[in-house]
């Protein structure tokens, strides 16, 4: 910072000179911001919210699967088998029960030791999430214990993400932000990696996972 401190002072001087039209007594709070936009774009029951999340994720080519708690281990095992996965990485805090029915797959812990090159030799990653946003079809990861480092959901070609409904599903972006901690590294994912750079034809999968399986788990009682 030290060798550009001259520019720091100069830029701040320029800004203050540029803003001589702003009254000296004006505070930022004096510049009005009308937040009369909507917090939610429609009233929804928990079930409708989850259905909308599923529909919007599907719209952007994620594969959505619905199950109750008891069916989760079977669903995870089936998705790995269908993808032909031989090696899968999981964050250190992933509940062991989720993998109870997985067989024939080498499961490695992504607790921090894997290099990017080693991750490149992994077929699938299984994580939870921090929350999901129905109106935009988005899942948000915050590097929590069941999600792990950002890199483990990026390099493997197949991501299975478990969302708990209804408690992890919010309606809208304005509802999502207060539930997230900006001090944590955050990744918002809306469908698999995609590009539209060639004649605006959408192609899934350039650098991130080409297949995104989202498993929405509802508790037995609320199903």
């Amino acid at each position: 910072m030290t060798d550009t401190s001259g520019s720091r002072a100069e830029i701040l001087r320029r800004i203050r000179q540029a803003l001589t039209d702003v009254p000296a007594e004006e505070t930022p709070g004096d510049v009005p911001v009308a937040r009369d936009y909507l917090r939610v774009h429609a009233p929804r029951s928990p079930r409708e919210r989850t259905d909308l999340l599923a529909a919007h994720l599907t719209d952007y080519r994620a594969h959505v699967h619905r199950t109750e708690e008891a069916g989760l281990p079977g669903t995870v095992a089936r998705l790995l088998a269908e993808h032909g996965t031989r090696r899968a990485v999981v964050p250190a805090g992933l509940p062991g029960a989720w993998l109870a029915e997985v067989s024939g797959v080498e499961v490695v812990s992504g607790g921090g030791g894997l290099t990017a090159g080693e991750l490149d030799a992994v077929d699938s990653v299984i994580t939870g999430c921090a929350l999901a946003v129905a109106e935009t079809g988005t899942i948000v990861l915050d590097a929590g214990p069941d999600q792990g480092q950002r890199r483990i959901t990026l390099i493997p070609d197949h991501h299975i993400c478990v969302v708990r409904a209804p408690e992890q599903v919010v309606d809208s972006v304005p509802q999502a932000l207060p539930r997230l901690d900006p001090a944590r590294p955050l990744t918002w994912i809306s469908g698999p990696s995609a590009t539209s750079d060639i004649e605006l034809d959408r192609v899934e999968g350039v650098h991130g996972p080409r297949t995104l399986d989202v498993v929405i788990v509802t508790a037995q009682s609320s199903a």
């Binding site: 550009t4 401190s5 520019s7 720091r8 100069e10 830029i11 001087r13 320029r14 800004i15 203050r16 000179q17 540029a18 803003l19 039209d21 004006e26 505070t27 930022p28 510049v31 009005p32 911001v33 009308a34 936009y37 909507l38 774009h41 919007h56 719209d59 921090g112 990017a116 090159g117 490149d120 946003v133 109106e135 935009t136 079809g137 988005t138 590097a143 480092q149 950002r150 890199r151 990026l154 972006v173 900006p182 001090a183 944590r184 590294p185 955050l186 990744t187 918002w188 809306s190 990696s193 995609a194 590009t195 750079d197 060639i198 004649e199 605006l200 999968g205 350039v206 650098h207 991130g208």
Partner: protein
Amino acid sequence: MSGTYLGLPSFPRAAAESTRDTQLRANLTHATHTIRDKRAVAIGELADWPQLRAAGAQVKDRTLRHLDHYLLQLEAAVTEAGGTVHWAADAEEANRIVARLVHATGESEVVKVKSMATQETGLNEALAAEGIAAYETDLAELIVQLGDDRPSHILVPAIHKNRTEIRDIFRTRMADWGRPAPEGLSDSPAELAEAARLHLREKFLRAKVGVSGANFMVAETGTMVVVESEGNGRMCLTLPETLISVVGIEKIVPTWRDLEIYLQTLPRSSTAERMNPYTSMWTGTSDGDGPKVFHLVLLDNGRTDTLADTVGRQALRCIRCSACLNVCPVYERAGGHAYGSPYPGPIGAILTPQLRGTDNELNASLPYASSLCGACYTVCPVAIDIPEVLVHLRERVVQGGPVTLRGTRTTIKPARGHAAERAAMRVGSWTLDHPAAWHTAQRLALRTRRLHPERAPGRTARAWTDSRELPALPEQSFRDWWRQRRKTRENGGDQ
């Protein structure tokens, strides 16, 4: 074509050439119409779009009127979170800082996330001169870099290239930069994307230094936000040990909560999606996750001069969505290269002359690169009154007057030898020689008539509407009416 913007001809001369390129025009028309049609659908889903648009503008105005306050708050928050903040008064200084930081790592290559700020500073060329290879990793930027070309659109920089041209670039140039294109590469977008994946993955996996911009910086928390689609951004932001972000000082939003506005308006306005596939947010450094070292380079490079102009200041609200490009009849026909800057289209026509000054023919001609149809203002998600600023800048070019240049207040004379007037006349006659541009503008205005304000945009027109109601637009333009009437006649219908 070379990768720099130096020594480019003025807009009318460049446009005269590009409008003769029928391939370019066909590519552009397809692309801009596709995006704008989808965008209208995405925005139609949000009943509160006018309120989001107004709030987006107000938050930016609050930020700009107290920019020094928010920059200091941001600096403190980033430093507290383990990052280092640098200040760059101009492009040259920003490039010097980045080069020094890269040299300090002992590395000689960097991977880059698509960034308007580093295009503006010419960072890649500056790093090359220092012996540092900078690899663009966004697919479109890769196409532009391999083709020794320049970006022509803010969102889709290779919009002027079709799939066959891209295949040829990959076949002939990939080997010069790393892994060659696969044998027998076809021109299907899926195969081309796969070729880019393979070519770039080896670079991602070995990269020690990443360079990015940011879409937003949150002053209260020090959080950086990058929105993208492909995952190349996530690769560059999380795999390297050192991350250097070069960001214009206007990219600040005051609070974490403010993101709720822009994360709704930016994706829908730019790619016409409810949300872009990936958004990364990071605050300084995190133990064991992502880069161990984070540098933020805050870039002025003409922004404080723009801030000093109370009419032109609103250009700094821009969130680089590129919606204005896709509705502009002049952009659609002239193409992005004619604007001679990383910022093409209507926003470029007001941003570039303010960032760089109007003392050369190209920059002085840009405020005339418009038919003032107002479609750009209608679609802008932060309500920048682009026509108003265009007219204001035309006055400045022709009449001269007080401006701030590199922080110094000065008075500029009317443009040298009436060069600007000549430029203006050329653009004027160029526009009139291309009646389809006017026609498109008219049709657009009709399609969006429910959104029209009761007062006209632009200083002169606004004065007129101070005492008058803006007349209602007819249901149909005269040309459309005439065309339909003629068609009906040809089909033997009523006369």
